[in-house]
């Protein structure tokens, strides 16, 4: 569903992505682990097109999308959430979701109809709000909801484009352990055919949701396999626990 081939990227002297090749099957749930600065977010930025790789290819549903701009990739079914909330502040939860849904529903450029009243948009907004438990806050403005709820909305906005592949960048960063746990329960409720790639720094949570695990260190894939194999990996422990202690 989503594949990278020998992806490579440097910022000046910093080599942030080193020859990364990944392959996600349809419906696969993969977690990317790795210490801070390993290049996880930069990898996402390349996948969605916000950063152009120096070398390598990105394939979405079997087609090379390496040269496609951000918006076109998104319309082909690639959606992401951000590590740092990237919401429409000043608008309500409903309006945030509706803006995302209106692109998918094809009413983002219409002139005489109100996109927010479109039947299709309303249906998506309701569906997503239920999926990520946002119904109680639906009419609240972004500035009126707590940080944790904003993290849910961050993912909700990405979901409202009805993607084939969903990329989530540390969706539970900064929220308490209980909310993080709740978030992972919520992931279980998402459609099984949705391909999901999550960056997660909490190992236990990662193991709880992952079908497969990829570990990045200094921009390089140092592990790619099943969670049970990762758990026993000394390499992973060394890298990860080392970084953990620094943090």
């Amino acid at each position: 569903m989503l594949e990278t081939r020998n992806l490579d990227k440097s910022f000046g002297a910093i080599h942030v992505t080193r020859n990364v090749s990944l392959k996600l099957e349809r419906g696969e749930r993969r977690v990317i682990l790795g210490p801070n600065g390993a290049g996880k977010t930069t990898l996402f930025n390349q996948l969605v097109g916000e950063i152009v790789p120096d070398k390598g290819q990105i394939l979405l549903a079997g087609e090379d999308v390496t040269a496609l701009p951000v918006a076109k990739r998104a319309r082909r079914g690639l959606s992401r959430s951000y590590q740092k909330n990237t919401l429409f502040d000043g608008l309500t939860v409903e309006e945030n979701l509706a803006l995302a849904a209106s692109v998918h529903a094809g009413v983002s450029m219409t002139l005489w109809r109100d996109a927010l009243q479109s039947v299709q948009v309303r249906a998506i907004v309701e569906e997503v709000a239920n999926q990520v438990n946002l119904m109680p806050y639906i009419h609240a403005k972004v500035s009126e909801i707590s940080y944790g709820v904003r993290r849910q909305l961050e993912v909700g906005v990405a979901l409202a484009t009805k993607p084939l592949v969903l990329l989530m960048d540390e969706p539970t960063s900064g929220v308490g352990p209980e909310m993080a746990k709740g978030f992972h329960d919520l992931l279980a409720g998402l459609p099984r055919d949705l391909t999901i790639l999550i960056i997660e720094h909490d190992m236990d949570l990662a193991f709880a949701v992952a079908d497969t695990i990829t570990v990045l260190n200094y921009g390089e894939v140092v592990f790619d396999g099943l969670p049970e194999d990762a758990r026993g990996s000394k390499l992973l422990r060394d890298i990860y626990l080392g970084a953990w202690e620094d943090a």
Binding site: V48, E50, V70, A71, K72, A74, R75, S79, R80, Y82, K84, T86, L87, F88, D89, G90, L91, T92, E95, A98, L99, A100, S102, V103, H104, V107, S108, M109, T110, L111, W112, R113, D114, A115, L116, S118, K141, S143, E144, S146, Y147, R150, V157, T161, G174
Partner: protein, 334 residues
Amino acid sequence: MFRHTPLRYAALIILFSGALFTAFTAGYFGMEILTEILILAILVLALDLVAGFGGMVSLAHGALMGLGAYAFVALATKAGLDPWVAASAAVAITAGTGWVIGAICARSHGIYFIMATLAFGQMGYSYFFEQSFFGGDDGMVGPRRFDLGFIGINLNDSRSFALFCLAILGVIYLVAMAILRSGLGRSLTGVTHNEKRMRALGLNVWRVKADVFGLSGAMAGIAGVLAAQHIMFISPKMLHWTVSGEALVVVILGGLGTLVGPLVGAVAFVVMKHELSHVTTYWHLIVGLVLIAVVMSRANGIFGFIEARFRPKTDRMIQSIQTRDDAKEIAKDA
């Protein structure tokens, strides 16, 4: 998201009744001032659409209005087209030009966007200033006004013409409202709030900007056609960047991104101009001082100030909670 609050409806009704009252009571001179306000109001509505709602501060709107006026006059007098046909063609031209300017400038932001629009505007100004076919710096004499004889209205009568401009302004206001509530308008709001995210959601951001700029250009063109019919004479001065600058002053004075505010601004500006120019030749200075006072008050223009005044206490309480929450989040992010 654009919403029409009761206060905005109230302001509209007051403005509309005021215009009607003036149209039926004022003498010749008052009627001229009213018409001037109405035409300026159309231009600043067009500007508010891009600058207030789209964050695209344009210094090309005076030029778009001037282009509309020139296209209309040239097509009606030189090509001999019927004024209605000439006007429609002129508006189509300004819409197309606005669309192209919007599309080209879509990637730039802030000061760069302003400078790019300024460059386009000044190109238009220089062209009409130099081009002898359009009368060069002497300008051109305008054509007859629209013929509304078939419904028994003679627009050469200044009251009829003022009422006609009021009707057009009303229609344009409704259109602007419809645009802001349409899919395109909602997307524009999204782009203004968070362009990066809208792109990541699959939106063609440049198309949204270009389309809105084109629609705004059409409105500026209508203002130009009416201005040409009003003063029956046009000169390259209409395209000069100071006209755009003045329109921007009016929008900010009235309240950026409120749609009603710029109408208030247009009334305030033209009335100040006429009242003060009797008293002193330095009237610009006083308008400048008023603008500084409005900006320094940190309200969103005159109308923003009124809205803040009438906002119930509860609203302000919610806001103070919001700022505390935001501070917490910033602390968390750091």
